[in-house]
Symmetry: C2
Subunit: 308 residues, 2 copies
């Protein structure tokens, strides 16, 4: 089983949605990613928590075979995020962010981590993303995400990073901000011009655009009737996507990348059905495979000629 290294946040999230709320529940980009990717590959998590991080979360992740040897525990409080989703659940309003121990986080990679063939740089400071990448030996596949805050404050560093990235995930609002282009298709093409051979423009419940193999593709989301908490949808998408690509040797062949899109959508579709990481904790690869087949069937349009 090939391995994937993820660097990102490990958080305690407080979330309100029209379907309920959670308080100081397990969250963070590296956590959502790991819980989805571990179904496909060996996951090594690089991050930091404070002394207040509940042991029960650590045990849960370990029992799901997530390698936590890169999870630093330092004195201080764990990163916290609080947010609220409006009725249509399409975007969160951040109510509070406390960086806490994350503020002074310095990723230091072990030999095994440096040798990982696939690395996912979740939406942290581009300078930290660089620091991780610089320590890697020669990854076969480098993937990266970002967020509005870094596009505003560190656009030059981010664009420089992109020249070293194979797969870039970004949501549509961020893509507009990064490129100044209001058409998602043009934005994806422009970003691909800066380096990544694969660009995924995520659109939440509306699916995603994909630039791969030198052209544009479009995917709907897997239709979900019960959405309780969209937090972590993008990171679990990346986990399914990159987990699958890791399982096929880090290939970015367009046939594999299209399958990866479906695995990403499937992982995200499970994640949003309950709060925090509840769905992902109990998710099995068999359940993923079953929904993947359903999704494939939904997408399949049999060829047929016009009668007239």
């Amino acid at each position: 089983m090939d391995s994937i290294l993820v660097v990102g946040s490990v958080a305690l999230d407080s979330v309100k949605t029209p379907k309920g709320e959670s308080s100081e529940a397990l969250g963070g980009s590296a956590v959502y990613f790991s819980l989805a990717a571990r179904l496909f590959a060996k996951v090594q998590l690089l991050g930091v928590v404070g002394t207040d991080f509940p042991a029960v979360h650590r045990r849960m992740l370990q029992s799901r075979e997530v390698d936590l040897s890169g999870l630093q525990a330092v004195s201080g409080k764990t990163f916290r995020w609080a947010g609220k989703y409006a009725k249509d659940m399409n975007s969160a309003k951040t109510l509070d962010t406390q960086l806490n121990v994350f503020e002074k986080f310095k990723p230091v990679l072990s030999r095994a981590q440096k040798a990982s063939p696939v690395v996912f740089l979740a939406n942290i400071d581009p300078d930290l993303q660089w620091e991780v990448l610089a320590q890697m030996e020669r990854p076969k596949l480098v993937a990266c995400d970002t967020m509005n805050y870094w596009i505003s404050s560190k656009k030059p560093q981010l664009k420089e990073l992109l020249s070293r990235v194979d797969v870039f995930f970004i949501n549509e609002e961020e893509a507009r901000k990064l490129t100044g282009e209001s058409n998602n298709c043009r934005a994806a093409r422009m970003i691909a011009g800066w380096g990544p051979s694969v660009v995924v423009v995520k659109k939440g419940e509306h699916g995603a655009l994909l630039w791969a193999g030198g052209k544009l593709h479009a995917f709907p989301a897997f239709p979900v009737e019960t959405v309780k908490d969209p937090t972590g949808a993008g990171d679990s998408f990346a986990g399914g996507f990159l987990g699958y690509l890791t399982s096929v040797g880090g290939s970015t062949d367009v046939r594999h990348v299209k399958r990866a899109m479906l695995y990403g959508c499937v992982a995200a579709s499970f994640n949003v059905e309950d709060f925090s990481t509840r769905m992902l904790e109990d998710l099995s690869i068999d359940a993923v495979r079953e929904r993947y087949r359903d999704f494939l069937e939904l997408l399949t349009v049999e060829e047929g000629e016009l009668v007239s």
Copy 2:
């Protein structure tokens, strides 16, 4: 070649978008629909214009084989609509609506129109939609669209109409308003419970949800990099969709309906590439077929087993 009857507006539209503007250009739901559907089927247009309706538009439609024997010309001014699209082009702000001759429109069907096997009731007053339907002999396929205005003012009539409708088109905002349900998937299912075996929830550039064959399907839009004017996208979608279904004998078999979704998306994708009806006027079935094949290729994900 089977025939399809459409009743709807014939308009002079003034539109502003970030890419330019048009003034008193040809528009209206029945016009956009007809220009797309005529590539697949014989189209009979039922509507009304005033004495100011330019003869050049009438000649253009006739030269595209749209049967205008049901287009009444009465004294007064033609229906006018003015609207403006913001940067993301996803929704129009109506600046002005002048019903004019449309206010007293009474559809009267000829023998040939009554016998049409397929009918599309575009987004006009539900009472008028009823009047047309009541005159039909025994249509094989009844399709219908609506808009916010009628959902607010004539919801009971609309819901009663739906019990007689096979295919219902509605956009996501309207679907929320009609059902009170903020999840598009649940809204589609609820509407299907009121009668239509096929429900299409349109989402503009984000594609559409489809309820058909007793379950939900999701489709992306065909990715378009140059969007100049989204006016008429929904009606040209319906034209491609129902034109195709008419060409296969009015079938609502799910295999046909899924193909119809692609033909609808393709017709709409051409329409938005220029102002007014310019793209549809010159569109050929060969160009439609070519983009259909491209779209099918984009959507195709080859099956493949997990390695791990």
